[in-house]
Symmetry: C2
Subunit: 414 residues, 2 copies
């Protein structure tokens, strides 16, 4: 799924280096998602029937009545001031510290936060210690800066890991319901990582888009909260760079995300943002503010959690019935994904993928979540975008794909 | 106005290299613009009283009624499909070629187009041939990729210029009412540049945000149109990478811009965009579509042009009366800026700037439009954001600042 030589050939000046080692996996998945006869279990999309269309309509009208032309300005690089203040307030409630607006930068989704962190911290060859397997969007965002990676495998006393922390620009983790694995990092492990980050005096990027999607049990405090609790009053000045978003609890198309970090980092991220797009849509941000103030989010989240819980359970039951002879998994306590690992280390989900496409079902093969592309025996299956019926149909198609893949492999072996 | 050592000191891992050579000029100007007792002639902001608040309110309601949850999705990286098609149609009317949607990428303002072009084409040290003086936003966007520059001074037969074209990744130009100079590049000069770009087989970035702001006479065809006229039917495949925006004809806060280019470039820019923010606000794009289809833009543009023409004339008259003993300028035929050059080559607008701040007036000193920072005897004065009265007050303050600067300089010399 790399870009082909044809994609990259030009008789005009050549493209930059990172593109030559890049892929267009996400674009391919989005394109597949649009075909009606496909069951796409590949994307990371919310259930669009839950988007609060009417409440957003009302919020739009109110935002323009309240703010007038101020909602249509370039606005400050750091974001629409009243929303920035509201997010500071929200973060203060959720993460046990009095965060100031100087701790907050509003971004075009949390994804832009990842891009800006790369711009501010990464030069070619710099080291990132990243939770493994790693969110594809983070690998994408930083690919343009050409970093190197060390896998964070939670063996926190490994001397080689401790050495890598001292060399790294930052650690990257998704402790709540990781993408792709759905895993919840236990509180004691979070604490162990934080103390080693502080000892090594490095940065820690905590990416937390799935916080609202607590399907079984509670997520518990963030790493940001754990660190902030040890800091003095006033603006947060610790090593955690935290990313949040409205994409999972309201709607992704507003593209409202944010970064929480020490003021100096926020200033430099704002400089990088000014160099990227001058500012995000002030209009989207003003509408998001009205929506949040309406209190409608408090109704949406329980409805969303109930819907996703039902879908997760339907997926797990179908997989148990039809896929468990070849795959194993933990039932994810939250988030959007089931991570199915091949019982055989030789099971190759890159190969399975082409059989799946013939059966008109899509998933994400594990290799794309590995900076080295070497992790080949697992797959990420999304459970939020399809109804239980469609999930079951998807799993039936996956079973057929597995059977054909295995029969082809064993034919190849004879 | 460089970032101070204090801004950049940290006991955690250091920031990336480009930041160490960076500045926060734009952030400073935006901050000054917000102080009520200041006359800011510095920004590049439209007249916010012209923003079509009611028409946008109506467009928001209609967009959500028409598109429902589709207006709240992540949406395709390339942009909201119906707006992408509408922009292809608009470009086809304006630039004399049948552009396909495969020639169009929607972006968060034209500024993001500049950032994405940098990501796709620039590695550290790569050469850009840029119209001089150069738009600060372009220098900002590309600074993160650490290019080198050669000044495009329109001496198109200079052998050294012709050699630099062969080495360059691309040429950058703002032919319509350049930022900062307000100059209109004549048609024969555009043709000369295009033919040399084609001979050298390089790319040409045509940045065209001011197209709607034709205050005296017509802008004439774009370089894109001139090139496209020589190409065969079907998707455009020439060397021009064209940037457009709704920021000047509708409102900047929607952050709707676009790139027109050959399909391969559009695909790679889309890949870079996926790595930057996954997608722009679909909601903003759906609202922009409804707004454009309502036809309201056709009423706004003449009103905007009339307003800016009156303001330009007021600024020029005041400057003629109060500043012409020290500065000279061409009356800009369009755009948003007057470019005032010191009659003395020793006049230092960096120094003048601090006197101006004391008089509570701001402009942009010429040095920030020079990749080398060496152009010190001119200034950019915006005429779109303030009423004629405020412009006159601003010029009076500028005159006082000039008098104090000159008296200090002559004191310093004695």
């Amino acid at each position: 799924m790399s870009l082909s030589q044809a994609d990259l050939s030009t008789d005009r000046p050549p493209f930059s280096h990172w593109i030559r080692t890049s892929n267009n996996v996400t674009q391919q998945f989005l394109a597949i998602g649009g075909q009606p006869d496909f069951v796409s279990l590949a994307g990371g999309l919310p259930a669009s029937e839950l988007y609060p269309v009417d409440a957003i309509k009302l919020a739009s009208t109110r935002a323009l009545e309240r703010w007038g032309s101020a909602a249509l300005e370039y606005g400050p690089v750091e974001g629409f001031p009243a929303l920035r203040a509201a997010i500071a307030e929200r973060m203060s409630k959720e993460h046990r510290h009095r965060f100031g607006i100087e701790n907050i930068l509003l971004t075009t989704g949390a994804m832009q936060g990842l891009d800006l962190i790369g711009k501010v911290l990464i030069d070619p060859g710099d080291l990132i210690v990243a939770q493994f397997p790693t969110y594809l969007g983070a690998l994408d965002a930083w690919r343009t800066r050409r970093p190197s990676y060390r896998k964070l495998d939670w063996n926190l006393d490994d001397p080689d890991f401790l050495l890598s922390l001292r060399k790294a620009k930052f650690v990257y983790t998704v402790p709540n319901y990781s993408n792709p694995t759905g895993a919840l990092v236990p509180q004691n492990v979070r604490g162990g990582l934080l103390s080693r980050v502080i000892e090594a005096n490095t940065w820690l990027v905590e990416d937390d888009p799935y916080l609202p999607l607590q399907l079984t049990g509670a997520a518990g405090p963030s790493i940001l909260a754990a660190d902030a609790a040890t800091r003095s009053e006033g603006a947060y000045d610790g090593p955690v760079i935290y990313l949040g978003t409205l994409s999972k609890s309201v709607a992704p198309g507003l593209r409202v995300g944010w970064v929480v970090a020490e003021p100096k980092i926020i200033q430099l991220l704002a400089l990088a943002k000014q160099c990227s797009d001058l500012s995000s849509s002030m209009f989207s941000q003003a509408v998001a503010l009205e929506f949040l103030e309406s209190g409608a989010e408090a109704e949406i989240i329980p409805r969303t959690v109930a819907c996703y819980r039902e879908r997760r359970d339907a997926l797990c039951a179908a997989a148990q019935a039809l896929l468990s002879e070849w795959f194993e998994w933990e039932v994810p306590p939250g988030g959007m994904f089931l991570w199915a690992k091949g019982r055989s280390p030789a099971f190759d989900t890159n190969q399975l993928y082409s059989f799946a496409l013939r059966e008109k079902v899509a998933f994400v093969p594990s290799s794309v979540f590995d900076p080295d592309g070497a992790l080949i025996n697992a797959m990420r299956i999304n459970f939020t975008r399809n109804t239980p019926d469609r999930l079951e149909e998807g799993v039936r198609r996956l079973r057929r794909a597995v059977e054909r893949y295995l029969s082809e492999v064993s034919n190849g072996e004879t």
